[in-house]
Structure formats: C-alpha cells, structure tokens
Subunit: 357 residues, 4 copies
C-alpha cells in the first residue's frame, strides 16, 4: 500500500513538492525491450506545460525530463525507470501571506489537520505541478500499450459554455489553446475566459477522454473493474469532482431501451450500434471505444476575496495573488489522457498475468 503510487503491475510512485529542488517519479513494472527516449516523454510534458498561452498560468518551467535509470541503449530494461524534473522557476517571493492563512478550496486546512506540518510554498504535494509526473508516466504507458491503442482528450465545456457535439473534430483540438474539438466554440471561449479573468474569477470545465483500440477482455468483474480503476485514476486528478463512464449521469435518467447498446456483427466482430456503456460491460472492456468524462471545479485561487480562517482560528478574508490558471481544467486534458493510459497499461499486464496473453 502506498498513498503516492498508482497501479499494480504497471505502477508508478511520485514524489516532490512544487518548491523543492525537483519532482519525479519511479515507473515500475514496465516490460523490457521497449524503445524509449527522453524525447518520447518530453512531447507529452510540453503539452501540459504552463506558460503556453494567456489562458494558463504564466509560471515558466521548461519541465525537462531526465531518465535516470531503467533504460539502456535506448530500450527499457524491465527495471524501475526513474524520471526527474527539476524545479527551475521557484521565485523567491514572500510566502508569509499564505503561510498561516487557509485558502478556501485548497488543501491548506486539511494538510494541517492531517500532518500538523505543511510546506506552504506553492501547495506542496497538492500543487498541479505533481501532474507532470502523471503525464511522464502516461507517456511510458502509451509505449507499453503500443500503436494500436490511441488515447486522446478534449474539453467539452468551460463554465456554462458547451461545445456543439455535432461540430466535433479531433483535428481542431490542437489548433486552439483550449483542447476544444469545436472550432466555433473555441472562438467564443477566448472572450469568455478573458472576461472571467478580468473579473478576478475562475470557471470549471468538463473533459472528455477516450481510448480506441482497446481489446475486449481487460478489467475484472468486481473490485478490479476497469471502470472503477478509471474512476479512481481520474478522480485523483487535482480539482476533479466527478467522473462518468460512457453516458454517465445521463444514463441514470434514461430507460433501459434508450440506454441499450444493441449489437450486430461487422467484419466478423461484434459491432455496437451505440456506446452508452463507454466500452465497458461488467467491469471488462467490450472492444468498443473506452470513454470517460471528468468534471474539474473552478480554480480556487482567485483575485476575488473570500471568507476564510487562519491557522489560529481567526476569521479573515483571503484573496490569492499570483500566477493562476483561470480554468485549471484546460491543463488537465493531458493529465486525464495520462491517467487513462496508465490505467489501461496496468490492466493490460494484469490481464495477461492471469490469462497468459
């Protein structure tokens, strides 16, 4: 058991605080003889890096990953892969303001309740910076899964602004700063998010993430369900408040006939006429696209004042200055993809451990 590890056979352990010398993770259980370079990982880290547009935090970290072990002559060796990312932009600023003040919606209060000590600089372990490790581990997981499985994510709403699903185009996603699959919505979101930021406010977001090419049979019927492990993984992302598999809460409002994914045959394989199940039946993948949605709450750090208390129990007002994302959900897309990747890689190995292939 570990509070800082994820997965069982494909398992990674992360460490590091936002304002220490570095963060990193150890990826254990990776199969051997998989070609792997730092560049393979860097590609995905660059996607979640802060400072890429005016809609994400201006903290400027190159997030350059180093492989310290587990790779020899360009291939994984089957031994632990240690990854390290130095913290380069630790501004020596004055933290006295937040040292003893609990920011509402943050873990400040709960850290003190749990540990009785807290690295108050930048959120400690709860910093979004920890998610760089997930993205790095996810890059390795994608290599384990192979080219037959494609994982991708998109933002389907920010605040009260939704996409029009009929406009969905995956090619649009990398062409706007929001991971938005609807080119028209993406335009509106620029001005919307600008106004949110000007108001010293923030908004939440909903992320769609999916994996195509997952074979039928991964997962397990009861507690090692593919969907419950996905729910754990996605809900462990900072600021996550909800997870749906397939039709999710919508299915709860439907009748059985509306929800049924009818099946026909196509090219010798089952062909599901709809995918309300999100590609998972009874905890086991059915061969269709695995889909999930993730609700991210609005950034808690805002310029607007909110009522709070300090560590001594005095009532105070808190207003958080500094470099914050008006919609932290945007940068969560590569993280959600990564959690999908590591969950699938773990289940791939778990499946073949028991089944033999």
């Amino acid at each position: 058991m570990s509070h800082n590890s994820f997965g069982h056979l494909f398992r990674f352990t992360t460490w590091g605080e936002s304002h220490g010398p570095a963060i990193g993770c150890v990826v254990d259980g990776c199969p051997p003889r998989i070609p792997l370079t730092e560049a393979d990982i860097q590609t995905f880290l660059d996607q979640r890096r802060p400072g890429t547009s005016r809609f994400v935090t201006q903290r400027n970290e190159p997030d350059a990953v180093k492989i310290l072990s587990g790779v020899f002559e360009g291939q994984t060796t089957g031994t632990p892969i240690s990854l390290l990312i130095e913290n380069t932009d630790q501004r020596s600023r004055d933290y006295s303001e937040i040292k003893d003040r609990y920011r509402p919606g943050h873990a400040d209060l709960t850290y003190d309740a749990k540990y009785g000590i807290r690295d108050y600089r930048g959120g400690g372990r709860s910093s979004a910076r920890e998610t760089a490790n997930r993205v790095a581990a996810g890059a390795i997981a994608r290599k384990v899964l192979g080219d037959g499985i494609e994982i991708r994510g998109a933002v389907v709403s920010i605040g009260d602004q939704k996409i029009d699903a009929s406009n969905w185009d995956w090619d649009t996603v990398p062409q706007n700063p929001f991971w938005c699959p609807d080119a028209e919505a993406a335009k509106d979101w620029e001005s919307y998010l600008d106004s949110v930021r000007k108001d010293g406010n923030s908004v939440g977001a909903i992320i769609h993430v999916e994996a195509t090419g997952v074979p039928a049979g991964w997962g397990a019927p009861v507690y090692g369900k593919l969907d419950s492990d996905l729910a754990m993984g996605l809900m462990s992302i900072n600021a996550a408040k909800g997870v749906e598999i397939g039709a999710g809460f919508e299915a709860a409002r439907w009748s059985g006939t509306q929800n049924a994914d009818e099946i026909r045959m196509k090219d010798g394989a089952p062909d599901f006429l709809s995918n309300h199940s999100g590609g998972i039946l009874g905890g086991i993948s059915n061969g269709d696209t695995v889909t999930a949605r993730l609700a991210i709450k609005p950034t808690s750090s805002m310029l607007t004042k909110v009522k709070s208390i300090d560590a001594k129990g005095q009532e105070i007002d808190v207003r958080t200055k500094g470099r914050h994302d008006p919609c932290v959900g945007i940068r969560a897309v590569p993280v959600a993809e990564a959690m999908m990747a590591v969950t699938l890689a773990d289940h791939m190995l778990r499946h073949r451990g028991q089944m033999g292939s």
Copy 2:
C-alpha cells in the same frame, strides 16, 4: 493485488456466484474487541434483500449471514472475519436460453472475451447478489467507525423523475419502497415505476450518500485521496456509470466565486458556509459532511426485445424473462452506504497507522 478485494488495512475479499451453494466474504484487518453479532450485520442485509416490495426483484432469499471466524465471545478478535450467506433460492430452471446468448448491457460477452468460460446461471460474479457481501462488510465497517459517524443514503431521482430537494426529510426515506427523501415524489414514483414495468422497460437512478461526523484529516494528497477511493468504491457497484463528490459536475459549470465554500468559526471549529467540496479538500476530509452521488444505469435485463449476438457470432434478438428489478438503483442504496463505510474505515486505519492516532 487482488481483483476481488477492496481496501488496504480494513480489507475484504468476496467470493461466490449467484447459483453456487453460497456466497461470502472475508473481512481482514478489523480492530479487536469490537462487539459484533450476526444480528448487527443482518439488519443491513435485510435492507437490500430482494422481495421486499413489488418494485424490486421477487427472488426470495433470506440472505441469512453466518459468522464463521474472527469473533469470540461476542467480540472481534482482530483476525479474519469470515461471513457466509447460503444461496437458498436457486430455481432449477432452464438456462439454455441465455447460455449462449449475450444479453446487451450485461457482462456475458465480456466474460467470454476475458475468461473463455462463464457460469451463465444468473450472472456469475456480476450478479447483484455479490453486493450482499459489500453490505455485510459495510456493517462491520460501521462498527469500526463508531457511533460518531453516521452514514446514510437516498434515491434522488429515478429515470426522469427528480425529488424536490427542498422537501428533503431523512425520516421519509425508510417509509417508502424507494429510499426517497421527498414524500411527495415517492407517491409519484409508484405509478411511474408501475408504468415502466408494464412497458417491459426499466429506468436508471441517482443515489445520494453521505457521512456525517468524519473528522478532518482522513485521506491523502495524491493517489490515496479519500475522494478517489470513494470514486473507485462507488463505481465498482453493479451498473454504476458516474460518481460525483460534493457539487460534482455542477461545479464544472460554476465560477470560482459560486463554488467557494467560505469559512467562518463556530464553537471553536471551522464552519463551512456551504459544502460544494463534499467535505474533501485536496483528497483529505475537512470535517464537514462527506457527500457523494452515484449514477446507476437502467436495468439491462428487460422484457423488451433488443438486438444482440450469440456466442457463435449469430445475430439474434434478446428478451430477458425472469425476476428483475425495473430500477436496480433502488436496491443499490444500502450498497452505496456500505462502500462509503468501508472506504472510511480503511482510511481511518490508514490515517492512524501513519499518524499514531
């Protein structure tokens, strides 16, 4: 690692198929010297038992639990508690109809894909019957948590019928067959569900579950988050398709100022002016009520015909006869409560292992 266990320090392992001689579970890690009788467990089992109203399956099982180990002279001994529930109502009916036919929305197809063998009688491990074990383990978890923590659940919608939240009254919940906290809605639901059943159809449901009295400090910041473990536990319930903590997906549509749970002091303790966080900040309980919601899809077994295939890949139509709940979400309430209880009990022990109290 186990695909049939839940929890780490308070950990239970379940076994058994719907149509074998019995089902059961082994609860490991329970602290010693806790008074425990079969009646303590039976109370909760009786709540989820089938056959209690016309809105749930008419399968008639007494679900009488036996304690086979781990309790001595009325007290837990700290060693594994083995619980056994005999399967008494295994009608010797003809299963040939479903033996080779994949029921859409069921695990039939995915079991075959995974294991290449399947106990087709009654759903095997995927039978809702497995959840009796969860309820039994949950009853023990409640004992571990003690009287200071109260866990309770309710159905807040079935199909497209919602409660009026302003009518919420916990005393109403046990007075109707739906676990509905709104007495007026409960009346409407009777006729609604009767019509659903007459149509040979089914509907989904949304369940609210909460725990009051949880002290601040349980959980962990990254992968042992209290909310991610709750998400895993709730999503592992049969037919679950979505989980929310606190405001859930609603929070994703809000601004930061709407979502902020402001804090004042009351009687020397933090007093949250709202609870959109669901009592969890940064993965750690904040002392407020822990709240979650769970989406349950419509029962897949219906009298209405749906398109499917058989094990040989032939296209067929499937119509599931037999004793099925028109809304399986109703009986999931005690199961959701149980998963809340076992998750909290596990985190209570994990917390004091590291912290010392």
Copy 3:
C-alpha cells in the same frame, strides 16, 4: 495489504480458528479453464491430516474440503475459489486450564499483548490447523504450474538424527511415516521418536523441499526475489525458525571456488555442474532445480513441566496435556511443498504479466 493473505497475482486469503465451525481460504487470481475437482485438493490434504500414524497428533479430522465457488462444470472460471473445511472434532473439553496460562513457546502471551483478546481454544489462528488451507491452495497452485513442474519434500533430520544423503531415494519417502528419503534412517527414527514421546519431550526437524522443471527467468532482481519470497513463505509456516536456499549456511563457510556452480552446455541448454545456488541467481530462477531447507523447532506443547507465567503475571509451571505431535516438523512437509507451489505459481503469473509469456 493483508495479514492473512499470501501472494500477489496468485493470492490466497485464509480464515478460521481451530475451534470455530470451519476454516477456509479464498484463492484469487487463478487462471481460467483449469480442470479442478475437490478430489484434486483432497489428495494433498490427506497427506497432512492428523491421525495417520502414532508419530503425529491423534486429533481425528477428516479435513474434507468443499469448493464453494470459482469452479464451473469441472473447470476454474478465473473468479475466486472459495474452499471450506469443517471442524468436526472439536472436543468439548475443559479449556480453563490454558485459558489464562501462557504456554512457553506459544503465541498465547503475544496474542494478549497484541489484541487484548484471544480465542484460547486450540491456538486460534496459530493452530497448525490453519496449514490445511495452505495445502489446499498449494494443490491449486500445482494445477496452475502444470505437469512440467514437480514439487516434493522430505525430512532430512529429526532432532539430532540425520539421514545419510547418499541413501537418498524419493521412492522411500511415502513408505515411512516420517517423509524420510533414507530407508535405514527411517527405521532408527521410529524408536528414537518413541523414546522422545515417552520422555514427555519433543524434537525439531529439518525439511528439504524442491521444485524441478522451473524455467529460467522467474523472480526479480531486488525485492521480488524468488528466494526472498520463498523465505517469507517458508518462514511463515508454524514453528519455522530458519530457511536456506541451496547450500544455505554451508555456503557461508565455503570459499568462492567451493561454492561456484560451474556451467557447461548439455543438449543445447546450460548445465550447472553443481547446484549450490538452489536454482536461483540474483533472485531469478536459472533453470536448475529450486531447492530450500526449513528448520522447524521442537513442538512447544510437552508433557514436561516448564516455568511460565499467567495472564495476571503470576509465576506458574505449565505442562501441556492433549494430543500433540512429538515432532511437528513431520506434518510440515506437505505444508512446505504447498508454500513452494504457491510462491512459484505467483511468480509464474507475475513473470508473464510483465514479459507477456
């Protein structure tokens, strides 16, 4: 984590006390479609059953195993296999004598120190009866390993009586009540053990256990070493005080040239000219026979009086009446074989999880 489970992918959890209604175990992670009957398990249980000769305890339990789940139409389904063995010979005798008296060498004192409560009847979880579960799980592990791997054990010394290794004959083992591979030594042991018993005394034993046919490559280099897992498994057997792999402590007295297992080729495969390594190099099997030895201390329960204390801290003398084995090591042979089998089965699945075959 569980204090009552063993293994990771092939994992079993045991429960039950000597004087409860039953004992049992849940075997999780077993691959599907393996033919398995109760008789397959019973064969091995019968080997460790008490009452088979005058040299083992006269407690008379049929130890009849029942399969309650996980097997369908004669084949494993890949879901948990629940095994149950009823306790039939629970003599209703007077336990007041041992209720508050700590038997030296037993867990009475340490149970009270740990749990503050104790099922004093027959040793609770520390009863040798628990090992029936190990043997049952081991029988299933053998099926997982297949016919190519043979696991067998023998007693190589009891008290100060050793075998002559040059007389070793596996066929002799089942022909005497001691699992002794040296027919001549076995004759001497009869009178030796009779005299030990007449003296109200007991003796220890050393067990050899080996597995032939294990392919090279199982295990791992650092903490998942095949030998460290074997050491854990064997040392977890009741009354175990020492474990050796290959030459064991003898190797510590040797020089490097004495200890070196030189290698030649034979039939296209590595041929080790000696096997001081016990078939394991760097934690990974090398293709040679895996060998281990296990030291079992003398039975602590004796008719001879020994100084002790009671639960109130009063100094007393203790003399244990009842049905006890003068050399508990004899009945440990099938248990040691079982722990070898379950450890190997777990590593087989762990290996192919990471490696793919």
Copy 4:
C-alpha cells in the same frame, strides 16, 4: 505490487543501476514531524561505503545522499521522501569482456533469460550498490522507531573462521574492519582474509543482527508474521542464502525442553530465561530482543578461473578482474541492520493502524 518496493505502510521503492547517473529511493508513509537531515542518513551510508579498508572493494564513491522532497524546515512532512545518490566513480573501462560472458554465481544468465536485455556494466540492479538505498531507508526507519529501539549487527564468522561467542563485546565491533564482536578473532581474520585474497579466492560470512527495545505485540499470526517479513527482508540482500530467527537451525536439532524459553517475572514484566525464539512467538514480538542471522555466500567474482558459458551458448572460462570484496558479507552488516529497521518500522505502523496505538 512492486518488484522494487519493500514494506507496506513504511514503504520504500528503489531505482538505479550501478553505472547510470545516479541511484535513489522514495520512502513513503513516513510519519510527519520527525526531525531529519541528510547528515542523519549519511552517517549510516558512510558505514557501508566501499573503500574504507583493504578488505572491501576499492571502488571509491562518496555516496553523498541528497534529500529531494518530503522534508521541510528540518522535519518530515508525511509526504514521500526522495533520496538521490549520484554515481561518481563510473570508470570508463572496457566492458566488452563481460558483455556476453556469464559470470557463474551472478545474475548475468538469469537477467538475459528474464528480460532479454541487460545493462551489463557492473551488475545493473543486482549491483551491491543498490544496497546504499536500503541503508538510507533504514536510517529513516530508525528515526521512526525512536531512541527506545536499538538495532545493531556483527559478523560472527567468515569462511571457516568463527568468533568465540564468550568474547562478544559490542564495543569491539566498530574497532575492526570486519564488524567482528570478538577482538581476538578479528586479529586472526586479517591474515586469513589476506590469504584468501592472495589466492584469488573469496569467502562467505554469517551476520548476526538484533533489535532491543521492541515492544511485545508487533507482527501478526499467519502471513504478516514479523519473522517471515524479516526473512524476506534479509534474504533479499545480495548474496544471502539463509536466514535464521533466534536459535534457527540449531533449534531443529534440539528437544523441546532444550528449546523452551522459560518465563519468570521481573520488574512487573515477563522475563524470558533464554531467547531461543529470537523475540518472536507465533509471528508476534514478545518483548525480548529480536535476533536473526544471515548467511552470505562467497563473492562470486574471483580472479580464479571457473567454467561458464557465454550468451551464445559457447563454453568458456571466466575470471573476473576488477575491484571486488573478498568477503562481501562484511559490507552487508549495515544492510542487514537496515532491513531489520525498515521491517520493524513497517510493523510498528501496521500495528497501530489496526490497534490504534
């Protein structure tokens, strides 16, 4: 599950190869608010460092540890402690000689069998260098255990040279290069080991390790036994071939009356008149000193030629040049102490998780 982690609640994960840029470990589950500096860890690392006498390898590594996370203002925070040790002495020598040649007694052959790829430079993960991580984690474990528990080790034999136990003096241990508690024996060992080295040979060793001050009650009765976890931990040390708890194999040769640890009362607490049990009864500590012994085989790398094969299956002779310890057992003492420390720290947390204190 992880092949590179040890422990459950106090858990560490190690990574790194002998010839990569660095090695390191992540210590997870450490309680918060424990004072900890790099110097606290360095003290123990310096004890196992190579190059300290002519009897250990002359590889010259400062082994300077850096704390990268989990400590804030001189105290642990309860979050993962990441430790890093740079590899500074990676001589750029020619490894072509061992690249494709299997050194007998080494993991070369088994690595290739398992992974199909191998970092042949210096043994990869099987390098004794990995044990620096264990020592570092052990230093933190000692802090968790507190000053009331003292852990210490000694070499009781090298090759066929034993100490005279009646000369045992713990103060002697740090005064000779062998961790020898018998000053007279230590003198003899100098010339003995010199001659072994001159012969191009090596010898094994037996290590005694003990912990005083362990309270009664740690451990568990069946698979989480304190002794089986110690056996696993000690047997996981490089070159270990045997583990004994208390009297070990000697107990197997004794009668019950010889082996019995009789009990009297002293100062209100149980006083064991002997400690053949090694302070553990039924898997649970009894309050007496916890003792274990560990057999280390002779260093496999020797100047003397031995028969072997290469990766292509050609028969060859192998003679290992380079800087090797003639008796690798000597440097294993601080490693054995560390494994005792981490095992106890883990059980301390596991005990209080279930018991509450």
